[in-house]
């Protein structure tokens, strides 16, 4: 059953898991980007302003570990949160296909924006990063997001 408490409980758990896997256990790129998944799920439940604020806070937390380009994650997640909330005006999605597309495209957009914000001196090649690595990690995050939504009992209509 979808309730706000359950949705935000799952989002909170995803955030904790993200930092637990990446920081506490040091899995690095082996762990999925649960921060993006949590943001994308949460963003569909609130307005554009709150979603952008939510993304801003999550981005700052992630940037606390960034020495290459502080602010790049903040910029990317703020825009993704804003965009995620904005999709409510265009799509009413309650299908598996929509959820998967939403999560994958959201994660890919997050990586693209991060690449843009990194600046010329720090970017790795566009093709390697945005066209090869990013789609793979986006599908990875999408699949994990689907699993989380399924096992948490939120149902596909959560992301809408």
């Amino acid at each position: 059953m979808k309730t706000p408490a359950r949705i935000w409980g799952v989002v909170g758990l995803l955030i904790l898991l993200h930092f637990g896997l990446h920081v506490s256990l040091g899995f690095g790129e082996g762990a999925p980007d649960l921060l993006a998944v949590g943001l994308l799920i949460g963003a569909r439940e609130v307005g554009m302003g709150r979603a952008a604020g939510f993304g801003f806070v999550l981005g700052l937390l992630e940037d606390a570990f960034s020495v290459l380009a502080f602010g790049a994650n903040t910029f990317a997640l703020t825009l993704v949160g804003m965009g995620g909330a904005g999709t409510r005006d265009f799509f009413v999605g309650d299908s598996l296909f929509f959820v998967m597309s939403y999560l994958v495209l959201g994660k890919w957009a997050r990586d693209l924006l991060h690449w843009v914000a990194l600046g010329e001196g720090l970017r790795e090649p566009f093709v390697d990063t945005v066209l090869i690595q990013s789609p793979i990690s986006a599908v990875y995050a999408g699949v994990i997001g689907l699993v989380v939504i399924a096992i948490s009992g939120l149902g596909w209509e959560t992301v809408r």
């Binding site: 302003g49 604020g53 606390a64 570990f65 290459l68 380009a69 790049a72």
Partner: protein, 321 residues
């Protein structure tokens, strides 16, 4: 609104759809969102010191439990390291020390002959490396020691095998942030072990992170290096002399003018470092005091080295002068 991204959009769920239908509220929400976007751009453009302060504040507050957990897990994994491997390394060190005892005596005798004063003891602080594994944190590491233990900005960080890992960038009271040799701004003055060829080492990004190499720049055109030559730091800059960097692989095509460049395979992959040594800064009073003047010593006779503080030990063997 495009209803029903495709067929799955059931009518039953339509009634639950929530949106900012009120125009004013929607405009307000968009305005707030725009404000956050502006704030994120400001965060991106903040000066380095301000960015460091914000990041440090977050790491020492809300993110502290996660970092602490990795510290604990890291220590446990180090303790669980194969004892046979540790024993082998201990044995090789014992053999090395035994063989160098005559060298120490010889060195002391030559110093007396040349009227050189004794060298001040070098020190280090052992530390555990914590890696965040976040986008943008690839060249960064955290240390569980800080200024309370004597760590300062620009303290060199080496692995437990004596290979250069990186340098401390910011030292807090009990923790520090450093960047490893893969950072785009990493530079280290280098030389061959015999000191015949010198140059400047920097990171040479590979196709992916694991393929990162070092690039030795500025080697005079008439000097040629063969593959397999070991490079060490030459003592210029923040890194003390003699820290091992890597092995020359081949000449690079990135040569400029009358200089040669060489690709270097580093001894240490940053992700592998778990236990490191942070080299302590030299005492300023002793920096130029190794040579005695003709009238006598430039500084008073150096007292016997003080008893090392907890976690700080002599580190003489690694830093020949």
């Amino acid at each position: 609104m495009l209803n029903g991204w495709p067929a799955g959009a059931g009518l039953g769920t339509m009634s639950k759809y929530k949106s900012d239908t009120n125009g004013t509220r929607k405009a307000h929400s968009a305005f707030v969102a725009f404000g956050f976007v502006v704030l994120s751009v400001i965060a991106l453009l903040l000066p380095d010191t301000s960015q460091d302060e914000v990041a440090s504040l977050l790491r020492d507050s809300v993110l502290r439990p996660f970092i602490f957990t990795q510290e604990v897990l890291g220590r446990r994994s180090i303790h669980a390291e194969d004892t046979e491997d540790l024993q082998a390394r201990l044995d090789s060190l014992v053999a090395m020390i035994a063989n160098s005892s005559t060298l120490l005596e010889e060195n002391a005798r030559l110093r007396r002959l040349l009227d050189l004063s004794g060298r001040n003891p070098d020190r280090y602080v052992p530390a555990s490396v914590i890696r965040a594994g976040m986008p943008g944190s690839e060249s960064m590491f955290l240390l569980d020691v800080g200024s309370d233990q004597g760590v300062t900005r620009d303290s060199p960080v080496i692995t437990d095998r004596g290979y250069l890992l990186g340098v401390v960038r910011r030292a807090g009271a009990t923790s520090a942030t450093g960047r490893d040799w893969t950072h785009p701004q990493f530079r280290a003055s280098a030389m061959t072990e015999d000191g015949s060829v010198t140059g400047l080492v920097r990171a040479a990004p590979g196709g992916f992170r694991g393929a990162d190499l070092m690039l030795l720049d500025g080697v005079p055109f008439q000097q040629e290096l063969r593959p397999g030559v070991v490079l060490v730091t030459n003592g210029l800059g923040v890194y003390p002399r003699g820290i091992r960097l890597g092995v020359v692989i081949e000449e690079s095509d990135k040569q400029e003018g009358w200089n040669r460049s060489y690709l270097v395979r580093p001894f240490v992959s940053p992700g592998e470092a778990a236990h490191v040594l942070v080299l302590m800064p030299e005492e300023p009073d002793f920096l130029d005091a190794n040579l005695r003047s003709e009238e006598g010593p430039m500084v008073p006779e150096q007292a016997a080295p003080e008893e090392p503080a907890q976690g700080i030990a002599d580190f003489g063997a690694r830093r020949p002068r």
